[in-house]
C-alpha cells in the first residue's frame, strides 16, 4: 500500500467518513466482555457494523477478533465455558435478549468458517439444507431455484452445474469454500460473518473469494476476520484493529492503513509485530 501525502489522506478520510456516516448501522456492539471460564478474552469492545459494507477485523493471533465475530451470531453459546456480557444489537434489537431465538438469529446472521466445512452430502444437499430446515421452500422446483441462485451468487454454478449430486467434499478447497458461502446465502441472511475464509486457500482461490465478497456487499452486510493486511485493505470499507482482547482502533479502511491514530495499529500494519 502506497503511503499517501497528508492532504490526500485527509481528503480520503473525509470522503470515507462522510459516506460512512450516512450508512445505517446493521449491528452494534457495546461494552462486550467475553469470558472463557475464568479467562477474559474480550474487554469492553464497542464496535459497529454498517449495512452493506465489509467490516474487517484485524489483529495478531489470540487478540479476540474471532471471539467478537462469534458473538455476532451467538456461536459462542456452543462453548460451554463461554460467557458474554454487554449489548449486541441487530437492527436495534439485543440479540442476547431471552426473547430472541438463537436459531432465528443464525438464519439472519450466517457464518462462513476458516476451514471449508461442507457437509458430507451432495453439493445440492449442502445448499438446500438451510432452506429445508427453515421451510423456505416446499416444492422441488423452488429448491432447485434457490440452489441455482445461491451457487450463481457464490460464483460456483458454472463449475458444478453438471455434478450437483456429487459429494461436496470432492471439490477443491477454494470451491468448497465458495460452496460454504453459497450454503450460507441460500437462507438469505442479512449479515454474513467470515472467519478467515481464505486462510486455507491458495492465492488464486483467495482472489476469487475476495471478488465474491465485494459482489456480495451489494446485498449483504459482511464482517470478515483476516490475518492478511492486504486482504483487509482490498475488500473492506471499515477496519477494526484488536489487540489483547481490546479494540485498539476502528475506522474507515483507507484511514486505518494510511494514517491510524494509534501507534499499535501503525506498528501492526507496518509489520513491527503480529
Amino acid at each position: 500500500m502506497n503511503l499517501m501525502t497528508g492532504s490526500q489522506v485527509e481528503n480520503a478520510v473525509h470522503q470515507q467518513t462522510g459516506g460512512v456516516e450516512n450508512t445505517p448501522l446493521k449491528m452494534r456492539g457495546r461494552k462486550v466482555n467475553v469470558f472463557y471460564g475464568p479467562k477474559q478474552a474480550l474487554f469492553g469492545v464497542d464496535l459497529d457494523v454498517r449495512q452493506n459494507q465489509v467490516t474487517a477485523l484485524i489483529g495478531p493471533s489470540g487478540c479476540g477478533k474471532s471471539t467478537f465475530l462469534r458473538c455476532l451470531n451467538r456461536m459462542n453459546d456452543t462453548v460451554d465455558s463461554a460467557r458474554v456480557e454487554g449489548d449486541i444489537t441487530l437492527d436495534g434489537e439485543n440479540i442476547y435478549d431471552p426473547k430472541i431465538d438463537v436459531v432465528e438469529l443464525r438464519a439472519r446472521v450466517g457464518m462462513v468458517f476458516q476451514k471449508p466445512n461442507p457437509f458430507p452430502k451432495s453439493i445440492y444437499e449442502n445448499v438446500a439444507y438451510g432452506p429445508r430446515i427453515h421451510g423456505l421452500a416446499r416444492r422441488k422446483a423452488d429448491f432447485d431455484g434457490i440452489v441455482e441462485k445461491s451457487l450463481q451468487r457464490a460464483g460456483l454454478w458454472s463449475e458444478v452445474k453438471d455434478r450437483l449430486h456429487e459429494p461436496g467434499t470432492g471439490l477443491s478447497g477454494g470451491q468448497q469454500q465458495r460452496l460454504c458461502i453459497a450454503r450460507a446465502i441460500a437462507v438469505s441472511p442479512e449479515v454474513i460473518l467470515m472467519d478467515e475464509p481464505c486462510s486455507a486457500l491458495d492465492p488464486i482461490a483467495t482472489a476469487r473469494i475476495e471478488e465474491l465478497i465485494d459482489e456480495l456487499r451489494q446485498n449483504y452486510t459482511i464482517v470478515i476476520v483476516t490475518h492478511s493486511m492486504q486482504q483487509a485493505a482490498r475488500v473492506s470499507q471499515r477496519t477494526a484493529m484488536f489487540h489483547l482482547g481490546n479494540l485498539v482502533e476502528e475506522g474507515p479502511t483507507e484511514k486505518m492503513f494510511t494514517n491510524p491514530d494509534e501507534k499499535r495499529t501503525r506498528d501492526y500494519i507496518t509489520g513491527r509485530y503480529g
Binding site: 451470531n73 456461536m75 456452543t78 460451554d80 436459531v103 432465528e104 438469529l105 443464525r106 438464519a107 450466517g110 457464518m111 468458517f113 476451514k115 466445512n117 461442507p118 457437509f119 458430507p120 452430502k121 439444507y129 438451510g130 430446515i133 427453515h134 459429494p167 467434499t169 460454504c180 450454503r183 450460507a184 437462507v187
Partner: protein, 439 residues
C-alpha cells in the same frame, strides 16, 4: 559467483570429521524391536491355530451321525397286543416301540428274537430315540400299523463313536463300551449299505437329552436368539439415546462427570454381578419366570449398555466439530444438528460398538447360570418367557458330561458358537464399510 569468475572451478568443501551419532545402536534397536513384534504376533497366531485345530479336529465329527436303515414292521401284536387303541388312544403313546426296531434289526442280522444274550446286545446297538421316532410316525398316521416301511434309526452313541473310529478296538473287550459282536454287526451292516453316517440335523434342532445321540443345541440356539433380539431392541435405543444426551445436550457439570465415571466403571463390573442383580430384580422383585430368555436378555442388556454407550460416545466425539459448527451456523437446532449430521457420521462406530457388545453378550455364561438358564430343557421355547438355555451355557453343560460322544458335541457346539461370533463380526465390518462408503 566470484569464485567461478576468478578460478573457473569450484572445489568441494572439506568434510568435517565424522561424529558418532549412534547410528549402529539405533538401527540395532529397531531391528530388535521388529523381531519382538514378529515374535509377539507369531505367539498369538500359534495359540489361535492350536485352539482352532484342537476344536475343529475334535468337533467336526459332531456334524455327522451314524444311522441304520431298517425295514420296520409296525406289528399290531407289539404296538397294541390287546387291540384297545379304539377305546384308549393312550395305548399308542405307551407302546413298546423300541421292540419294533430291535425285531427288525434281529431279522436283518438273521437271528431269532428269543436269543436273550443277542437281544441285550441289540438294545445297546440302537438308540432309544427310536421310541419317540416310531411313536411320532404312528401317531401321525395310525394306518401304518400292520405295514412295513424303511425307517432310519439312530445307532447308540457308543456305536456312533466306534463307527467314527473314536473307540480303540484294540482294548480288551471287557474294558470297552462296545462288544466284539456289536462291532461285527456294525461292519456287516456297513458293508450291506444299511449303516452309514448322515448329516446330524438333530444337533441344531434337538433340545437337551441325557443320550448324546439325541442331544442338540436347538434350545440353546433359540434361547440365544431371543436374548440377542432383546439386547438389540432394548440396549441399542437406550444406549444410543443416553450417549446422545450425555454427549450433545447434557451440561458439563460435576454430576454428569460422575455419571460418566460410573458408566465406565459399570463396563468393568464382572458379569456374574449382573447375574445376581438380574436374579434379585427381574426374578425375585418383578417375578419374571426363572430360566426364561427374557430375563437372560435383560441381564445381558444391562451388561451390554455400558459398552454401547462408551462406543457411541466415542463415535459421536469423533465427528469433526466443523460439521457441528456448519449446521449450527446455518441455524439448525441442536436436535437437527445431531440427527441430520452427527448421527449419520457416527453410525459406523455405533454399529460396530453395538455388534461387538452383542458378540460379547452372546458368549456370556456366568450371569445366565445365576438366573437358572443352566437347566435341562428338552422342548424348544416358543416364546422368550419359556425356559431356555444359551449357546455358551450348553457348552458348559456338555463339558460336564462324561460320555465320549459328548466330547465331539462339545467341540461341535464351540464351532457353532464361533461361527455365530465370526458372522457377527463380519456383519460389523460389512456395515461399517457400507456406511462409510456413502461418501
Amino acid at each position: 559467483m566470484t569464485d567461478i569468475a576468478s578460478s573457473g572451478t569450484l572445489i568441494d568443501a572439506k568434510a568435517p570429521p565424522r561424529r558418532d551419532i549412534g547410528l549402529k545402536r539405533r538401527y540395532a534397536a529397531e531391528r530388535r524391536f521388529r523381531i519382538y513384534g514378529i515374535l509377539a504376533v507369531s505367539v498369538g497366531l500359534v495359540f489361535l491355530a492350536v485352539m482352532l485345530f484342537s476344536i475343529i479336529s475334535q468337533g467336526y465329527t459332531a456334524f455327522s451321525q451314524t444311522a441304520v436303515t431298517l425295514p420296520i414292521t409296525f406289528d399290531p401284536a407289539v404296538i397294541d397286543p390287546k387291540n384297545e387303541r379304539e377305546s384308549d388312544p393312550t395305548k399308542l403313546q405307551t407302546a413298546n416301540y423300541p421292540a419294533l426296531a430291535q425285531k427288525a434289526l434281529a431279522e436283518k442280522l438273521g437271528f431269532a428274537a428269543n436269543d436273550r444274550a443277542a437281544t441285550r446286545q441289540l438294545r445297546g446297538f440302537l438308540s432309544d430315540t427310536s421310541r419317540v421316532q416310531l411313536r411320532d410316525i404312528v401317531m401321525a398316521d395310525p394306518s401304518v400299523i400292520g405295514t412295513t416301511r424303511d425307517v432310519e434309526i439312530l445307532t447308540s452313541a457308543n456305536i456312533d463313536s466306534a463307527f467314527k473310529g473314536q473307540i480303540d478296538l484294540d482294548v480288551p473287550e471287557a474294558n470297552r463300551k462296545v462288544s466284539d459282536q456289536q462291532v461285527g454287526w456294525m461292519r456287516k451292516l456297513s458293508e450291506e449299505g444299511a449303516l452309514a453316517t448322515r448329516f446330524n440335523t438333530g444337533l441344531f434342532t434337538n433340545g437337551a437329552s441325557s443320550r448324546p445321540e439325541s442331544a442338540g443345541m436347538g434350545v440353546a440356539i433359540v434361547g440365544s436368539f431371543y436374548m440377542m433380539l432383546i439386547v438389540l431392541l432394548v440396549a441399542l435405543p437406550v444406549g444410543v439415546a443416553a450417549s446422545i444426551y450425555l454427549e450433545e445436550f447434557a451440561p458439563k457439570t460435576k454430576f454428569t462427570d460422575l455419571i460418566e465415571v460410573n458408566i465406565n466403571n459399570l463396563a468393568a463390573v464382572p458379569s456374574i454381578v449382573f447375574g445376581l442383580l438380574g436374579l434379585a430384580v427381574f426374578v425375585n422383585f418383578f417375578g419374571l419366570p426363572r430360566s426364561a430368555s427374557v430375563v437372560g436378555g435383560l441381564v445381558l442388556t444391562l451388561m451390554t449398555l455400558p459398552t454401547i454407550i462408551i462406543a457411541t460416545r466415542a463415535a459421536l466425539v469423533a465427528v469433526p466439530p466443523s460439521i457441528r459448527s456448519a449446521a449450527l451456523g446455518l441455524g439448525a437446532s441442536r436436535m437437527q444438528m445431531v440427527f441430520h449430521h452427527v448421527l449419520p457420521l457416527a453410525m459406523p462406530g455405533i454399529l460396530t460398538g453395538t455388534i461387538i457388545g452383542l458378540a460379547r453378550a452372546l458368549g456370556e455364561t456366568a450371569p445366565l447360570l445365576l438366573i437358572g438358564m443352566v437347566a435341562f430343557v428338552a422342548d424348544i421355547p416358543s416364546t422368550p418367557l419359556d425356559p431356555a438355555t444359551a449357546l455358551p451355557v450348553q457348552i458348559y453343560m456338555w463339558a460336564n458330561e462324561a460320555e465320549r460322544a459328548f466330547v465331539e458335541r462339545l467341540s461341535g457346539a464351540i464351532i457353532i458358537l464361533l461361527i455365530f461370533l465370526m458372522a457377527m463380526n463380519l456383519t460389523a465390518i460389512i456395515l461399517r464399510r457400507k456406511f462409510e462408503r456413502r461418501w
